[in-house]
């Protein structure tokens, strides 16, 4: 980041306003659609600010090779991928350590709302592709994936909503954008959270950066209304398809 932007950020953050004029608890504008990929069993598009995720669900379908099958229940397999042109530097195609970790935590974030007991030996594949990113891509991917799973007609307890919360300078803010995430040479704290909106159960929680315990719980409280808002957008998008 250039120093001019950094200075601007310093001033903006001190004035308690964010570069794009949002309040501390505002999420970026969201667009959500379902059924965007006709070939898939379920699909969704979720855009928050300039972060855009597509998700497609294939399955439940037979899982091969056979040794990966679980005779007791179906398995969930998520694949998170950033397209090469989705960031300021070209992203090398193919899996990276980062994408493999995010794929794994995405599975863990979605599993608690799914019941795959009815599909022994089967797999539910979720492919998440990011076409453009401006921070919060794993959360956008989870939001899109949850909608795509619902669109595929899988039995779910609830949706999963995800958004990051964090500390930029001395302020707690919801839904960090790229400028905020890199504020003051990455000194901001980024906490991606996924929740089951109806129960506030946490299914994903990560943290990059320093934060005290009291602030962490304040941040989690702050993110709850945002989760409700995201869940509402997700639900509306699911209903929209049948209008």
């Amino acid at each position: 980041m250039t120093s001019t932007v950094n200075n601007m950020m310093n001033r903006k953050v001190k004035n308690m306003k964010r570069t794009d004029g949002r309040s501390q608890t505002d999420v970026r504008p969201i667009t959500a659609k379902t059924g965007v990929i006709k070939k898939a069993d379920g699909s969704a598009y979720f855009k928050i600010g300039n972060t855009t995720a597509y998700a497609a669900v294939y399955g439940p379908r037979n899982l091969f090779p056979r040794f990966l099958q679980d005779p007791k229940k179906g398995i969930l397999r998520c694949n998170y991928n950033m397209l090469p042109f989705s960031a300021s530097d070209r992203v090398r195609p193919g899996p990276s350590r980062r994408s493999r970790e995010i794929s794994m935590i995405t599975e863990k974030a979605l599993l608690p709302v799914l019941d795959l007991d009815a599909y022994p030996n089967a797999v539910v594949d979720v492919f998440i592709e990011l076409t453009e990113t401006d921070a919060g891509s794993r959360c956008a991917g989870i939001c899109a994936a949850a909608m795509a799973l619902a669109d595929a007609g899988l039995i779910m307890k609830d949706l999963v909503a995800a958004v990051s919360v964090g500390k930029v300078g001395n302020d707690l803010v919801v839904d960090l954008d790229g400028v905020e995430e890199h504020y003051n040479e990455n000194e901001s704290t980024d906490i991606p959270v996924a929740m089951i909106p109806s129960t506030h159960e946490i299914t994903l929680l990560q943290c990059d950066g320093i934060i005290a315990k009291e602030e962490l719980f304040k941040a989690i409280d702050m993110v709850k209304p945002a989760m409700q808002k995201i869940a509402e957008v997700q639900r509306n998008a699911l209903k929209e398809k049948y209008r």
């Binding site: 350590r97 980062r98 493999r100 970790e101 794929s103 794994m104 935590i105 863990k108 599993l111 608690p112 704290t189 906490i191 089951i196 129960t199 506030h200 159960e201 946490i202 299914t203 994903l204 929680l205 990560q206 943290c207 990059d208 950066g209 320093i210 934060i211 005290a212 315990k213 962490l216 719980f217 989690i220």
Partner: protein, 258 residues
């Protein structure tokens, strides 16, 4: 895991009693040896009970990343060695090994425990690179915490080799240490049934429901977190888990050789 064994385990954990007679929040006995590898610039071997991990640091001079021209390069890698447990197979690191390395990497990076700007030799051209490799020798559970502790001790143990401007003379050691200003301690708290345990053995670890890994600093602040496991947790769970992690980190901090 066998459901009956899990049932029994949860029963006994609810009475704050573990198979090896520890209490839920007790650590196993800890053994530490630092500087145990002569070929590495820094090294440590750490044992928590039967779990044993060796970590080594190698230093080199490299071209910095274009977006951080003045910062040292930090790399953390780990592999689940087939020697350490029959459940592992050879081949490239699986997702468990990747997660372990990345969570430990974040604990160092986000705590800014190493003053990376002090390791710049020539801006945009030459900086020190710090490669930390973590190798489990015997895996009996809690590999991540043991690995993170070994990696921290290896970093603290690291001594620079001589650098003559063109190459690193690995055989000539100086007395200069890494500029370390903080000590992040990684603690994972496992939720099994309704009980919370730290430092699980392999048997306990195979039946956990959720886990939270925290890296904690001397002032009890968190510098990185990671949730794991197939079940969700409530905010109340997180509160309990964080308190246990802070308490455990204080205990582990006392074990750091001074």
């Amino acid at each position: 895991m066998n459901e009956d064994i899990k049932h029994d385990l949860i029963q006994s954990l609810s009475k704050n009693l573990r198979v090896d007679l520890r209490k839920n929040e007790d650590l196993r006995s800890i053994e530490i040896e630092t500087g145990c590898v002569a070929t590495a610039e820094g090294s440590a071997r750490v044992k928590f009970g039967d779990t044993e991990v060796i970590a080594g640091v190698k230093l080199a001079v490299e071209k910095p990343f274009p977006d951080t021209p003045e910062d040292a390069i930090l790399m953390v890698a780990s592999e689940m060695l087939p020697l350490s447990n029959p459940k592992y197979e050879g081949g490239p690191p699986g997702v468990d090994a990747i997660e372990m390395a990345r969570v430990i990497d974040r604990s160092f990076r986000e705590s800014r425990c190493i003053e990376t700007k002090k390791l710049c030799i020539q801006k945009g051209e030459k900086v020190w690179s710090i490669a930390i490799d973590i190798a489990p020798l015997n895996d009996d559970g809690n590999l991540l915490d043991v690995g993170a502790f070994a990696a921290l001790l290896a970093l603290q143990n690291t001594v620079f080799p001589e650098y003559d401007g063109t190459k690193v003379l690995v055989d000539k050691k100086t007395t200069m240490k890494l500029p370390m200003v903080r000590e992040p301690i990684t603690v994972t708290v496992f939720k099994i049934g309704n009980a919370f345990v730290v430092d699980p053995t392999e048997t306990e670890q195979t039946s956990f429901d959720a886990r939270m890994t925290f890296a904690i600093l001397a002032d009890d602040k968190i510098c990185s977190m990671q949730k794991g496991g197939d079940t969700a947790i409530m905010e109340e769970d997180l509160d309990i888990m964080l308190d246990i992690a802070i308490k455990t980190s204080q205990e582990l901090r006392k074990k750091i050789p001074r």
